[in-house]
Symmetry: C2
Subunit: 321 residues, 2 copies
């Protein structure tokens, strides 16, 4: 496992180090979900940890939104597998002085996110804690899970929805301001791309990953797992209108701003060359979600990000950078 | 779900409140594990959160022990279901200043606990955090999971191992001392009772629960879920030698001390009346684990704890009491 196929970054160096140390005590690691064969099908399981003042601030979001966002972040891993949610278990740490109503608000958001994609809350754990924290374990089913590892040279590289708008909210908050409603909602209440993930799986997706750490970093994981290089034209990224002004405020091109934001929880998929405009239109008709081709898988390794034909070096979000 | 069958306590009032609020967004809650039917069998899933200065202190345990104990606490839920572990996912929060080697020590303990019962680490999540925290999601298989809900009047009430010794360590640490090696090991490195849980399931256990919050409280959950009363003779509790002196230091009877300690992670099982000495001897021969009859399920509700024939009122550990 020590040759785990992840992209570069300190967080991923740490994961590589863990797998080297664990040896046979770790198995099948390196995808969005753990895949458990069971009775002819596959159960897929993932966990995602959200911690106050690391992933969110109380001043930014209601507890109901904090719950929704934590659950949606974990459900996003099921989406990337092309899986159908069964349910989730919620481990919640809450300050000793927190009231019953606050806990209920948080759980309401978690439950609403689960219900929005046909799942339910199946269990959990409660503990006193110094700060609010939520760890969501999601469980889904997929007959043929789509891993990060199947992209082949010639495949198109596609992305769902639009990128960067949730990051725009984050930037405004971090600067002490109040984000526009559109951006705020995108950050507070990301829609788990379950239906989109399943439609992409049906359409023959060979590899998928959710953009939880941003396109620049996550594309590197898909490339590494698939043993290909991804050539991505940043000029093709689907940007929401408010991204332009946020990027201008940050002093960087809008496409780079969007490529570095993981908060949208969109999906990146490698689709076979035959997947083209007609299939794209059908996907959007069925799911209501935009789908944009942004590049191509080629022989090689790593990612090649181009802006106006010039290569750009960008890194994804790294918790320990 | 609002009539969820749990015993009394503020933590369980909160869980009842959550389920009432969630309505149909929560399903099948109230056992040690969520049970997911899949292809003729059953997958069982549980989560258990361990937080620095709530569940452990860095001065007491090495990071390797913190990892082991967190994983064992979650695996204990699989044991109570009579399940066989598949693996676990570990969400870890670590302080920004923590070094790579510290994280590796923690993960080594988690991996060793998983391996000790035939499981493996299948995934996880890493995040920066104000303090160390570990949330372990465990996944197991059980053809016929043993829930908390099957005990019938006349069943014998049995407990594995010995009780109270890990609590003895905790008491010494909290008083500023250094516990005896036996007690320290019991707290730092509890053995997940997987083999015992599976043997009890094979022996016809009708209901089981792990004693993570102590016999006094956990027996109440089993009684409530089964719709019976449990009559338990505290004088029959299997006590380790060091419990006597720890209880004397606390100024309470040794049996009460042991009934309030959940840190041993032993199992409580309701077994049919036909399960008797011969079956007990076979269980211990096969598993190497002691098994002691401490009471009987009778018609009624709640628990009735007796010491020298006198009823005693004791409450289990409550995170929010």
């Amino acid at each position: 496992m020590s040759d785990l196929a992840l992209g570069p970054g300190r967080e991923f160096d740490r994961i590589r180090g863990i797998l080297k140390r664990l040896g046979p005590a770790a198995r099948d690691i390196g995808d969005d979900c753990a895949i458990i064969p069971e009775g002819g099908g596959r159960l897929v399981v993932s966990v995602d940890l959200s911690i106050e003042d690391v992933h969110f601030r109380r001043e930014w979001l209601s507890l109901e939104e904090i719950g929704w966002r934590a659950a949606a972040a974990s459900l996003s891993d099921l989406a990337a597998e092309g899986a159908e949610p069964v349910g989730l278990l919620a481990s919640v740490g809450l300050p000793r002085q927190a009231g019953d109503e606050e806990l209920l608000e948080l759980m309401t958001g978690i439950g609403a996110a689960a219900r929005s994609v046909g799942g339910a809350v199946l269990g959990g754990d409660l503990s006193a804690s110094r700060c609010w924290l939520v760890d969501i374990a999601v469980i889904g089913r997929a007959e043929h899970p789509v891993t990060r590892a199947g992209a082949a040279p010639g495949d198109g590289v596609w992305v769902t929805g639009t990128l960067g708008v949730a990051r725009a909210a984050l930037q405004v908050w971090e600067g002490g301001g109040t984000p526009l409603q559109e951006a705020r909602e995108a950050f507070a209440r990301p829609a788990p791309r379950i239906a989109a993930g399943r439609a992409l799986a049906r359409a023959g997706a060979r590899a998928m990953i959710d953009l939880s750490d941003g396109l620049a970093g996550d594309a590197g994981h898909l490339a590494a797992a698939s043993g290909v290089s991804l050539e991505i034209d940043l000029g093709l990224l689907p940007l929401a209108p408010s991204v332009t002004s946020a990027a201008a405020a940050a002093g960087i091109p809008a496409a780079e701003f969007a490529a570095l934001g993981g908060e949208d929880y969109e999906l990146l998929a490698a689709l076979p060359p035959a997947f083209a405009e007609e299939a794209r239109a059908r996907f959007t008709r069925e799911t209501g979600v935009a789908l944009t081709r942004i590049g191509t898988a080629v022989a090689g390794s790593g990612t090649r990000l181009l802006l106006n034909g010039q290569p750009r070096r960008l890194s994804g979000y790294d918790h320990f950078a």
